[in-house]
Symmetry: C2
């Protein structure tokens, strides 16, 4: 019987470029009395990571090209520069209809606006992108947390994604380290000796979704501490959230 729980970490400042996220997290965890240990998961909204890494674009420095202008006009988007930034993040535009651009990013995510996000940006001019290498960012954050504390909590970096056939967004893992992204139950037997079917559990995505429930969307709480997921945590960093990506060759919905 596992008790899983999540609580947002209060007291983090606005994240500036170059910020040492691990240092900020350690300080906030200490002041709020939320333990960092080998069984904890640090769930962090990608925007904080992107800002620290400088994965942001100043709209005032963007010039929209012809493709972006045409697409903005066709989709009724008011600012073609935003469309340009989205196109720059796409290796493929999967759909561009009904005011929505669904892009495949260089990481392999298929999502609205190729992960470009303007909400909660520090300045009206600023667009926040996905981190360049979210699994690398997660590993780096975990390494730094270990340096500072001697313990090795797992790290998951999340973003809010829509779904093809469901309204609303849920947080999913765009990067992780030390959190087993997929629990593989294939071939194991259930309690009456039958082989289990629903057997690849995207635990890292569930952890991201859970963390989001502990976070108020209108407050600056990029970090949520999640406890009770010890069985999903590994000492090594593991394959990261990249293991959650379905290969293009297996995509039934392109």
């Amino acid at each position: 019987m596992t008790d899983v729980r999540a609580r947002a970490l209060p007291g983090l400042p606005e994240i500036a470029r170059g910020a040492d996220l691990a240092e900020l997290i350690v300080a906030a965890a200490e002041s709020s009395g939320q333990p960092l240990d080998d069984t904890a998961v640090v769930a962090i909204a990608h925007k904080a990571v992107s800002k620290a890494e400088g994965a942001v674009v100043a709209l005032s420095e963007v010039t929209a090209g012809d493709e972006a202008k045409a697409l903005a006009s066709r989709l009724g988007k008011p600012d073609p520069r935003v469309v340009q930034v989205v196109l720059d993040e796409c290796v493929e535009v999967v759909r561009a209809e009904r005011g929505v651009i669904i892009g495949r990013t260089r990481h392999g995510f298929i999502c609205a606006n190729a992960g470009v996000d303007t909400s909660n940006a520090a300045h009206r001019d600023e667009l926040v992108l996905l981190p360049r290498d979210p699994d690398g960012s997660a590993r780096q954050l975990r390494r730094r947390l270990h340096e500072l504390t001697g313990v090795r909590p797992a790290v998951v970096i999340s973003d809010s994604f829509g779904r093809a056939w469901r309204h609303g967004q849920v947080d999913i893992a765009v990067g992780c380290a030390g959190l087993v992204p997929l629990q593989d139950w294939r071939g194991r037997q259930d309690s009456v000796g039958l082989e289990l079917q629903a057997t690849m559990i995207a635990a890292a995505d569930s952890a991201a979704a859970m963390a989001d429930l502990a976070r108020a969307k209108d407050s600056r709480e990029p970090v949520v501490m999640v406890y009770g997921l010890g069985s999903h945590i590994s000492e090594d960093d593991g394959p990261g959230a990249a293991a959650l990506l379905r290969a293009t060759s297996e995509d039934l919905f392109r």
Copy 2:
């Protein structure tokens, strides 16, 4: 700052047809000391609900028709009767490729095998379907919990769904009562006065995903108690998980 937590409810028996789920849940909650109150969410795997409601099919009573036989042969499925049951649950076969049938159910869910599930079935012969009316089942369970206890916890009925572009499955809400399925933040402003973008939060799906993390897949723990989601709970039952379904006319990926 919200602390959200989830714990599986131990001590539930195998669910038989006609079982009074509410009675079993109240007894198990009492023995395990997990409170049922107006701020709790009872998260229950659909299989328990389907079994109680008799939404199961005995394979031995199924005769595969020509379409099922042809599809089973094309997809390399060993038992055409299973394909027949899946087809019977589909109002539309959305994809049938690579050994996978993605169906749209009469409820409007788009998912593998139209929600037909053989894992954790009590007998090798038995296929568990989705409940006929999962929102209705959730409302009924909530009503009965209220009758028995005088309190009104929210109810979410979950299933494990795959995703078009990601490996692995996460639990989502197929039915709910008293849990606000979608939190609508559109038009609200973020902490620097910008209008929020990622603003329709599928809280019921996140709650289902969270509950699944507290459940061991190979044990019989269909019910998980979730606490700390008071801000997502309403006294009235609300629109249910049907509100999470994207209309076919808005589907970009058919």
